[in-house]
Subunit: 236 residues, 6 copies
């Protein structure tokens, strides 16, 4: 039995609300249960320096967590600089979102996807990818609607979910209570067609078997399919 | 005529929603028109080092703004450190909230009020004070309810509003469109009884007369009275 | 009775010595009693980036305090970075000095006014403004004398003084002994004609009444008039 | 055909030299072809603060790269701080090494494994894990030999290798020439018994299929087995 | 002929004024021609951590330069951190002053000597040592007068001067005009008895001969003797 | 008797191995007894900004020490920034190497010499200069061989050695055991012809006499002559 009473293969309740910020070219508030992430996509007319004269665009992400998003207040990163964990997460989000973008169609400009965790209960990085992709897609549609680019450069859905081994059982979409006890924690980023974009599976203390890995992957494929459906519903 | 069509002495629409964060001892989402600030109050069992063995408590504030809270995306402070403007604002919020707190009753502990601007349209520091005070009050009630302290250390309402000289007219509660054009901008922090806690009036380019200052103060007193009523309504 | 024996409306002894630095385009050592601030104004041929091609000049200020300017040695800011207090003060000085400058006449260049506190006894920010204005005026005269600009861009005197409520009495120009005990501390920046540039009144712990505010303002107007006279005498 | 002429399942030439530093409790120079990493394990008598009074030990890693380890000189991190990439790598190495350590047997002390890349040609993080484990094991033996702990807390071999998809072919142990062209890059950390510790598979641009993932894993299992044999040989 | 018209072995005009700061335990304004350095010595009751329970005292120095001490304004170190040059100079001053101090007599406390350059014209580090020693000596006398320590721990005069090779001629006490053209620049720190404390001779571009070194040393010995006389006169 | 059993005028065993890095234009591993420093020289096509359009080249150095190069592990500078000691050493190495370089022949480019201490046993800065010069010379030869510059800009050998007063005896090339006990420590940088480039002699606690200085210099001249011979042998 999971702490939340969910079945092993059950996602938390998913909600993706769009248009939550009046300034951003694309914006989303994604809720995976009690994990709430505000995602905004901001278009910048210039690509980063390493792409100058390449004709290619860039998608990057920044991740943050409000100090009291968690049960115990964390130090504000603006005062102490980004932790290694934060940098690792935002690099992951950026790579994931770029995998679903045609950077030639995009042209030499940048979209920055900010993922700010308003409230945390596990799975903030996967929620950021799933919600951030919708914000990115909306910003791309804005660019097309404004006539800045001719075609939409977003080539496929990108969504992410965690799986893990908790109490000997392979489970989907861990909340904080499970995550803090799980021997193995894995994050899967997949496309709308089920192709693999990123896998990060990690044991702290214990190890995991090949079988467990396969079971986690199977759950993740099912979970991502449901998240892609939620993305589609949010986009109308 | 003001850009927003409001009367010179009209506040924007005020909304103060409580209980918006499941972790914090007190939490509020305050909306002053299109300015939205999330305020959480977090109790820490220790007072800061300079109060060790003094028997006194401390209230402090931290202020942040999400990168795309504004029309043009700002650099994330976690990457670059807090600006002087940010530090100045959070020092102001902290001083204002302490003016309404009995630090002897509070005892040697600290309450940190985080004010994070989700969306900005002028007046973020005054909204932070008005909303932050409600979060602080809720956290103090939590401490009393838990039996940690015997009495509520919050002695009076604290609320804040801006006034300014825009197009030759003295107006209340400037939004961004007015603020960016105003010759004089002033912030007033008052108590529930109308006593003065903090005044900051500043001319950039032009100067202002003593009469204009008095007119701004008169508007501010009326505006704060309305905000105190909204605080009372939010607290039920 | 004030600790210093001064009357409630008496400034400390003021001395403004010019030409104290052989390198700077304008330089002043201002003494307000035991508070001594060295002010230098340095001309730079370029305006800051945000004014490129605007035709406008800029005046900015930097503030520092030698580690042993105070009774107890402070940590050197070069080792730890500028505190929020320092940044707040230098932003105030810069705003104040710009209010007395015609930035069109000045043209696209910058004058940096450095205010370094050699010895502190309260009122360092107001002394920095009063002394810094003389250094700025001297640098502007140097620019005119060198034929770089046709007219002097300094349009009015700018001077500043503190007032406060100490022991129930409203007093002018607080020294450190008074400042550390005062319930309310206010800084007023006015022009030579008595127009208002900046007001910052702040209560820590107690609050202040509208009447007290008016009494502080009245003292400040008189004090600034005396300081403007001292500026004129220093300029010869 | 691979750029190096190696077979798809061939590791580069492996060399693990021990005792290369006269000060460290354990030290190793590992060479995977032209990738050379110096690994030292340093024992500290205290565990980190978060383990105080837990009875548990800690293993952590730090990673660095000399500025000219690469074809083009990199900026020295001592001047600019650790990049996100560096922090991500050293977190990975630490997690991997802890997975093979019994932290109860170890007791409240810390072993810091420094992995400094002397020369880089791809695969520096996996070489750091494979070599760092030998340094860690030697430091643990030193602790046993000195009578500080009764038993060796290292419970299993830990080794790592990369695999990837290069030119449509799944290959083992990518060098820099392959890594910079590969559509998918994966790192596998396994135990001496073939259990899984960490998997990080990442597509930049393209995606990868489940079949490709399985093929990479199969190569990695074989590669790690060979590396474990090399670790055993190095330990004598 | 030297730019200043001085003889090869002539110091600039020396002035050492004591008691220039009302807060510091010892204070001096030293002028070597147009180089002016304010030196304060501050007593701290605790020695630095590495001396805990050693019974030994410590003397350390910090060095700074006001932004417009030089002909062209320098960036303020409080905004950018101390440069390598600044750190090198303050380490030198500290070592020099410790060489004349009996740290057993001093007991477990620290004296911090701040040397802040008000105006620079070459030779700021040597002026800091010569002036800083007087401030240190005064602070030590204060400690004796207060009964904190039984004897004066300052065992000998410490003074410093530069010499160099300018235009083929060996000269004493270089000002900025000479220093910026000199092929070799040397700083000598000697005791009141002429014993050697520190020698730093440095060629940039050219080299220097053993004979030139001896001639520089001979000038320095004479110059330091005159500076020691000035120190004695200042102390009365 | 010296701790190492060496005669007072005996260098430690010197080994200079070239070609130790496949990427750098020049590379050396220098061993002075148990002090091992890896030196690489990297050519950059641009000179630093302050030389733009001057036609002159630049040689600079960076110095680092691996955390466990020493008996007790040091904090990694990448995490904490370069210490004052590190900056002082790398400034010294750069000045020393420039003294043997014709910057006109070199043309507007830069050579960066990285000196990274793999293992430390005293004398790391002098070993860095002696080894770094060989790496610099090899990089210059590479530039000539590639036809980038017409002549070799390296005009003379530069080598360095320490001397000191240990146990009342003047000795050459101190190892860590001697260095930590020596009352006086001096570093001498000389050319292949015995001309002086840099002298840094420093007493901590005690002072030294002119005679001791001369004796140290005499030993250093002999030691540098032997090191120059080793440089020549290494270059073949």
């Amino acid at each position: 039995m999971r702490p939340s009473g969910r079945a092993a293969n059950a996602l938390r309740q998913v909600s993706i609300e769009t248009g939550v910020n009046r300034h951003a070219e694309g914006s989303v508030l994604i809720r995976m249960g009690e994990t709430h992430v505000l995602c905004t996509a901001s278009v910048e007319d210039k690509a980063p320096p390493f792409l100058r004269n390449s004709g290619l665009g860039w998608v990057t992400a920044e991740y943050g967590m409000l100090p009291r998003a968690t049960n115990t207040r964390n130090r504000r990163e603006a005062k102490n600089g980004q932790t290694g964990r934060t940098q690792e997460i935002q690099r992951l989000i950026g790579r994931a979102l770029r995998a679903g973008t045609d950077r030639v169609i995009m042209g030499e400009r940048q979209i920055v996807v900010d993922c700010d965790v308003i409230q945390a209960d596990g799975g903030t990085r996967t929620a950021s990818i799933t919600g951030g992709w919708v914000a990115l897609r909306l910003a791309a549609e804005t660019l097309v609607a404004r006539g800045v680019i001719a075609m939409n450069p977003i080539t496929t859905h990108i969504a992410a979910v965690s799986a893990g081994v908790h109490g000997g059982q392979v489970v989907l979409d861990l909340d904080y209570a499970e995550d803090s006890e799980a021997g193995t924690d894995a994050n899967f980023v997949l496309t709308g067609e089920g192709a693999m974009v990123e896998v990060q599976a990690s044991a702290e203390g214990a190890t995991f078997s090949e079988q467990e890995f396969h079971d986690m992957l199977a759950l993740a494929k099912q979970g991502v399919a449901e998240l892609v459906a939620a993305q589609k519903a949010a986009l109308g």
